[in-house]
Symmetry: C2
């Protein structure tokens, strides 16, 4: 039987990571694989340095220190929020114009922006197991939250201003670790290009290659009003990597589903993705039409449209991947191999039980709850602010242990900061955005649903939205902060229509969340732990955990690929070819700065390139480094084939797309006249010893 299982594994070539596959935790790199592929294995000092030079950027991107003076590199598309805020505050449109600090002294604070550096990780699996042992499925989620809160609180201590700690679930309950981060909250903008070159090609070229995106920005971390001292940083290798050379991507991949059960994947394919794709398509049509109404609206909807369209491409790619029959064949066979191996071991079989059946049962309950919750999830930004205010006030009337985990004491200053931040809310588009949410709610739940009746009364979604947007004062940060600080009394006294609307949703939204945690998440987590346990018992820990927005290392090399239609794609583009693609019509219209610099730019400068590093959303802004820890690129995208990477890695076609270091310095010098910044980057370009 084991022999049969092994034969199947060989035939499938699947279990355990192969070749350049994997988003590895820094504490469990596949040394043998690295040695045989590249003859190089990072040692402890290398890893420590890479860890401290790598950053999590504002909760959803990656970044890195690229000078000893706190200079941070990330993607242009990761600084959307900061540019939007600076545009509003300075009355300059930083989508249309570049942000170029002329010296370090003129760098400008990005409000409400946080960058985090991983200080340490601590394996707490046994502590978590002890706290959840024997807990019933319906109490399991609460028990996990309680022990998580306790561990995080102990880890942060009294340093909540500078330390953040997260309990991280790896291998779907196979391992638990506490990640301890240093927080940088004074982040200032140094350089960001115009969005027409920062995301040249827009949505059509997103996830495509050949590509010409200067998707880079620079910021700087400050401490006590001065540039942070950051001895661990990645130095600059302007010429990039050579072919065949190992390239590491160090960053924070957000999420993969490679270890899910077949039932969980089917749920995504049949229910989750089709539903979300429809909602997103509806909002996209609406935003496109809004953009046609006036230049002002066009400007305002640009950011949300980018975000939405990126999400649509990802979901569509995932759905297509799940519709590949061979994906499910492989996943089914893998599951069979594991289940047969368990059946051979009575003690293990007894311990593990049938978690697959438990997960499948939880998914049956998940469907109606997820559908209803999604219909009651209104994505209008101003509504969400109102919702946070209403919820935050109510939560703070309770003892900490009874609150939702995101309202623990240590998080309250962050909420306050967020409410006080001058992040703009564009009421011009909030009416349609809110109406569309209310519309889809009534559409899905029906006119006669009691919650719909209580929210809309006898009014139409458009009327309710219009009145709420017209009357709200929440676009003013002072009003938001006052309501936050005023707590429950202020919320109860408020007649702001957006607050009243958020209140109308609150009890059912919270009840659904509770039911979801009790009936779905708890039972699923509890069952998943036992799948992981079985996996480790049968296969040992021969693979990497699914991505969890925590620091990972992937490895690979510069290499093109062959598309399904047979076309071979070269791995690198050059500045010279940009001019052909620039038709002058959006999204292929270059900014004036590039058009006027055309003659001065060296056409032979490498622009974008692809590698077979295994990355996923969240890796945006990740440095691509060589064995000597020098920057040889900046990851900003994957190819369209890489989206299937949510479920499996196919080295033959899965590609990471990066900005080449040479185009960054060329553009800074020639287009943006930022010699001082180039000097700062290049002054550090002394190679370190390779270990």
């Amino acid at each position: 039987m084991i022999r049969e299982a092994l034969l199947m594994l060989v035939a499938l070539g699947s279990l355990g990571a192969v070749a350049d596959e994997g988003m590895w935790s820094l504490d469990s790199l596949p040394a043998k694989q690295l040695q045989s592929l590249y003859g190089f294995v990072p040692d402890a000092a290398w890893l420590r340095h890479a860890r401290l030079a790598s950053l999590q950027f504002d909760g959803n991107c990656s970044a890195s220190f690229v000078s000893p003076s706190g200079l941070i590199m990330t993607n242009h598309h990761c600084v959307d929020k900061c540019l939007r805020t600076l545009s509003a505050v300075q009355k300059v449109n930083y989508n249309a114009k570049p942000f170029v600090a002329r010296s370090q002294a003129t760098e400008v604070v990005c409000p409400d922006t946080e960058v985090e550096q991983l200080l340490s990780t601590d394996d707490v699996t046994e502590k978590v197991r002890a706290a959840t042992k024997g807990v019933a499925p319906e109490k399991f989620h609460d028990a996990l939250v309680a022990v998580g809160n306790q561990l995080e609180k102990a880890c942060v201590g009294t340093e909540e201003a500078t330390i953040r700690c997260d309990l991280v679930d790896l291998y779907h309950g196979g391992q638990y670790q506490v990640f301890r981060y240093k927080r940088f909250n004074d982040i200032r903008m140094v350089f960001a290009p115009e969005s027409s070159i920062g995301s040249f090609g827009g949505d059509p070229d997103n996830f495509n290659f050949p590509r010409f995106n200067l998707d880079v920005s620079f910021l700087r971390a400050y401490e006590n009003g001065k540039p942070a001292v950051t001895p661990e940083f990645f130095s600059w290798r302007n010429e990039g990597a050579k072919g065949g050379e190992v390239i590491f991507v160090t960053g924070h991949p957000g999420g993969t589903d490679r270890l899910l059960t077949v039932a969980e994947l089917e749920y995504q394919r049949d229910h989750e993705l089709p539903r979300r794709l429809q909602g997103a398509a509806y909002r996209r049509g609406l935003l496109h039409q809004l953009a046609r109404q006036s230049p002002h609206l066009k400007e305002i909807v640009e950011d949300p449209t980018h975000t939405l369209e990126n999400g649509i491409k990802v979901m569509r790619g995932e759905h297509n991947a799940l519709l590949e029959p061979r994906l499910f064949e492989r996943k089914r066979q893998e599951e069979q191999v594991l289940r047969k191996a368990i059946a051979k071991d009575p003690a293990l079989a007894k311990e593990v039980g049938d978690p697959w059946a438990e997960i499948a049962a939880a998914l049956v309950k998940q469907r109606p709850l997820a559908e209803r919750s999604s219909l009651l999830r209104i994505t209008s930004p101003v509504f969400k602010v109102a919702q946070y205010l209403v919820r935050g006030a109510a939560q703070r009337t309770k003892p900490e242990a009874e609150r939702l985990p995101e309202y623990a004491d240590r998080s309250l200053p962050d909420w306050q900061r967020k409410m006080a931040a001058p992040t703009p809310l564009f009421l011009e588009i909030e009416g349609p955005a809110l109406a569309s949410g209310l519309y889809l709610m009534r559409d899905g739940l029906g006119t006669d649903d009691p919650t719909v009746r209580s929210i809309l009364g006898s009014k139409s979604p458009d009327t309710v939205a219009r009145e709420a947007v017209k009357g709200t004062k929440l676009a003013d940060p002072k009003v938001r902060l006052a309501l936050w600080n005023g707590g429950q009394a202020a919320i109860e006294a408020s007649r702001d229509p957006m607050i009243l609307l958020a209140k109308a949703f609150e009890s059912e939204v919270l009840a659904l969340r509770k039911r979801f945690e009790t009936e779905v998440e708890g039972p699923r987590s509890r069952a998943s732990e036992r799948v992981a346990k079985a996996y480790f018992a049968v296969h040992q820990r021969d693979t990497y955990p699914d991505a969890t927005f925590t620091l990972r290392l992937s490895f690979g090399k510069v290499v093109g690929w062959q598309r399904a239609d047979g076309v071979s794609i070269e791995p690198q583009t050059k500045v010279g070819a940009l001019w052909e693609r620039a038709t002058g019509e959006e999204p292929y219209a270059l900014p004036p700065s590039w058009l006027s610099a055309k003659k001065k730019l060296d056409g032979a400068t490498p622009f974008n390139f692809v590698t077979d590093n295994d990355i996923v959303g969240g890796n945006s802004g990740s440095p691509m480094i060589d064995a000597q820890r020098r920057v040889v690129g900046l990851a900003f995208d994957g190819n369209i084939e890489s989206i299937g990477g949510s479920y499996w890695f196919d080295e033959t076609v899965n590609r990471c797309v990066g900005v080449h270091p040479a185009v960054v310095t060329e553009a800074l010098r020639v287009v943006y006249g930022s010699k001082w910044l180039v000097d700062e980057l290049l002054s550090t370009a002394t190679p370190l010893a390779p270990n």
Copy 2:
């Protein structure tokens, strides 16, 4: 083995129709079933009368004669096109105002509207078999088209002005019949209510119940300038049917997929429906935002929005039905029963081969072709006119036998009439509509696709759309007609940008159609014929064919149902309850005519009601008649559960929704002051003998 199969059948309770299931051809009613359920079986005279009093309405609805003077009853939502045209011609908004002819003399022609009466059917199965015998799969579609054209042509003879003939494929190739229709082309509007009562409750209440829709309109067929003489009509029974009494629905259900193979249903679930739902959601978001821009645009987008939203509800319901695990369990078991029975009969097995595998193989080819075709299918009405003109001109340069079948000689006068009709095209919304099509095309095929490049050049979808709409003259019927009449020379000389745009699509669109017919439709049809043959061999013809937009009879009774949430729904609503649901906000705002008639209307008047007749889209406008062939209702909708009727019939929940005769006459008298029309209806209300 047969015993096993029979036991399975009993357990499944599925093969062969049961109870009130079925959309039966008039020539193969289930007499035993009718006798046992209702003690009544229509005889030949009854059926002849019902056939001649039933009408197909303008290609996509059903209707009936309800007086001997050509008076036609159908739904309000079936006369959209006529009302839109009359609104444009008369400069009156017939969405907001009722159309009420004050006498027969003031009835107004509905341009480009055709009503058809089924004269006869002719079984041509053997002729079709002979023509396609031994034909290779890739030639099969062409062979079918050729024999169809030949049979239809012979059936029409020289009477193309008054006769239409269709080759109809029943049981997916199990039987072929030629349907011969009398055409009525002079159709005049008699009465249509405001859309706010004609589709009261709008999209939210569509497919729901309780309901309050006066979804009725009256028209009249004319011949030689006088009301047509129509001795076969359904008389009026104002009090409606009693509980338990048999009710027949006679009409033209458009399409069901109850006899498809499992692979075909999976294809719909996984590929077809998710793709179409996403495209529709995008267009819906766009239309909703267009409606917010101005009252004028709101008015214009009302019709396309209704059509789109109805389609979305249907597709969503179908997708949900296909996501029911028990549906596929049953379909798989049915298929197994059939395949096992075939395997038991070597001669049959040899004759049938493995059509299931052939269908599955065709579906693999279908997916990329269907996706690409759908991305090149632009739904903008003005673009479609241009496409018809370009195609029609090119087709007419060929001998008839080489043309696409819709451009046969006998159809050319219809095309000409269509081009000359004053059907309005609203250029105000064509820009966004066209842009959205071009946008989705680029979105799906990519900027670098050769067809996309040849269509867009270096321009954006919005620019191309804007220029084409700005420059086109096709909104003028005279221009359309001149281009049609001018043929290929006129099209070649035309510089109309919409014509040029349509030309840019033409070669690939036609090539894709050809590939689809050759690689997908032909092989599928050829294989489906053998599935049908096997089915008939094993089960005899114990069931009704899938719906095909041809005349069918279903039977049932007035009966409520229990919803999935346990709520029991009463089968009938009354006028009195309308006032509670009328909030004054769209789509629950009543028109002024109803508000001012409130006191005079009898609250006890039945309004809408449900029966368990088996109906589907295309049945809209069907008369609901009793055993004495009297009108006891007008079908206009199904409940939400009925949408799963595309795949199977569940008598416990599947309901047809009708307008009660009493509310029609009450509204005509009290709200619209149309006593003469009520008199015409009631003067015929003499019951016929029950057979």
